[in-house]
Subunit: 210 residues, 2 copies
DNA sequence: CTCCTATCTTGACAGTGTAAGGATATGGGC
DNA sequence: GCCCATATCCTTACACTGTCAAGATAGGAG
């Protein structure tokens, strides 16, 4: 299938035409993570295949096992990494926003949506899939951190009730999810500036005391 | 596996101990749909297996093909049926709500959430999966009807802008999705009456002119 | 240099979706 | 009553998937 005959490895002299990928990849773990996300983005959440990921990384179909155990392990690690970048996307928005609590909260919501639109399949893996193991310490921690960040910001913006938290979270999450699956075409097709303006206006509706 | 030897069928006399399910099921199509939803609810969106569905319906693994073509066909039909019941859930709330446009809109949002909490996996199939074929006339029509119902109600409640539609939809959708995946435990664990009160209060925040 | 360990490959197995063709019932025409 | 056209369901086969077990290979510690 690959056309690579399983020939024994000779010392990699210059005359070796086929550039022999070394037996040991060097950084297979992160290579598999990027390959996994690429596969996820191209073929979709449902058609995800561990063997395809391995092939994309140029490695045998059983190589991922050593680093991640099984497919769930890979997806768990990928989701955890996703949650960290998810928080980073929010931080990026917060850094350029006004420093008052309300603006910071809105900025976090914008980052929430940014991430979902930029990497919709990863977003789906994190929020709507049960393939990752959310009991994993790594993933559990990363996911909880994302949630806690929101709760903190709502509190700083004057939110005190469960309803305040739920309202802001649900609104941001709903916008993100609908935009990620391209169902809010009236909003998603706007140019970035206009979209930002509309989104921030919408998010403000959920703010405590609005 | 089933213990049913592939013996030829003799006339079903009373002495026939093993009650022979007739060769023709009678209503296999709808039996497969219910089996599919049950499998979906029990084993989750990702572990869905066409062969398990067939086994649950007491039929060979290739029997679904005749009625639905392939797995995507079955899931498409299931999602379409889901959208119809989704609208019915909203109608049920609207029927018992005050008749002013704002209350009707809130009621529709509550029905939105009701459905997601009652049948989370089906909700996920409809909104976050790409396994159903959304270009199918049947599913496309059902999904569009659900969307149109919301747009109409927003308009009647005084909504005029894209932002109004997006705000109400996203808030209801976010609540539904987070509750379906059990991430809003502070809301989801309330008793129905208290939860209704909180949810309607939240949804009202997104209303135009609130 | 030797050996230990981590890394990667090969090969096998059960389970999956789908296609092709055979078996069985149902009903309409005679 | 008989015959067959059709719809329904089954059996078989194939490629692909995830996982496991066992072997091959490299790199580093001693």
């Amino acid at each position: 299938m690959t056309g690579n005959p399983p020939r024994l490895r000779d010392t990699p002299t210059a005359q070796d035409a086929t550039p022999p990928r070394p037996y040991h990849h060097g950084d297979l773990r992160s290579a598999l993570l990027s390959a996994a996300e690429a596969e996820l983005a191209e073929r979709g959440m449902e058609a995800f295949s561990l063997r395809s990921v391995a092939k994309r990384a140029g490695v045998s179909h059983a190589a991922p096992a050593h680093h991640f155990g099984d497919a769930q392990g890979l997806l768990t690690a990928l989701a955890a990494e996703g949650f960290r970048q998810f928080l980073a996307a929010q931080a990026a928005r917060e850094a350029v926003a006004d420093k008052d609590p309300a603006s910071q909260l809105v900025a976090a919501g914008m980052g929430y949506v940014d991430f979902a639109m930029a990497r919709p399949t990863l977003f789906r893996l994190m929020w709507q899939s049960n393939r990752p193991d959310f009991n994993s310490p790594d993933l559990g921690l990363a996911a909880r951190a994302a949630f806690q960040h929101l709760v903190d910001q709502v509190a700083e913006a004057g939110g005190r009730t469960t309803a305040d938290e739920a309202a802001v979270w649900a609104l941001a999450h709903g916008l993100a999810d609908l935009l990620a699956s391209n169902r809010l075409r009236g909003v998603g097709s706007l140019d970035p500036a206009a979209r930002d303006a509309m989104l921030s206006g919408i998010i403000r509706r959920a703010l405590p005391g609005a």
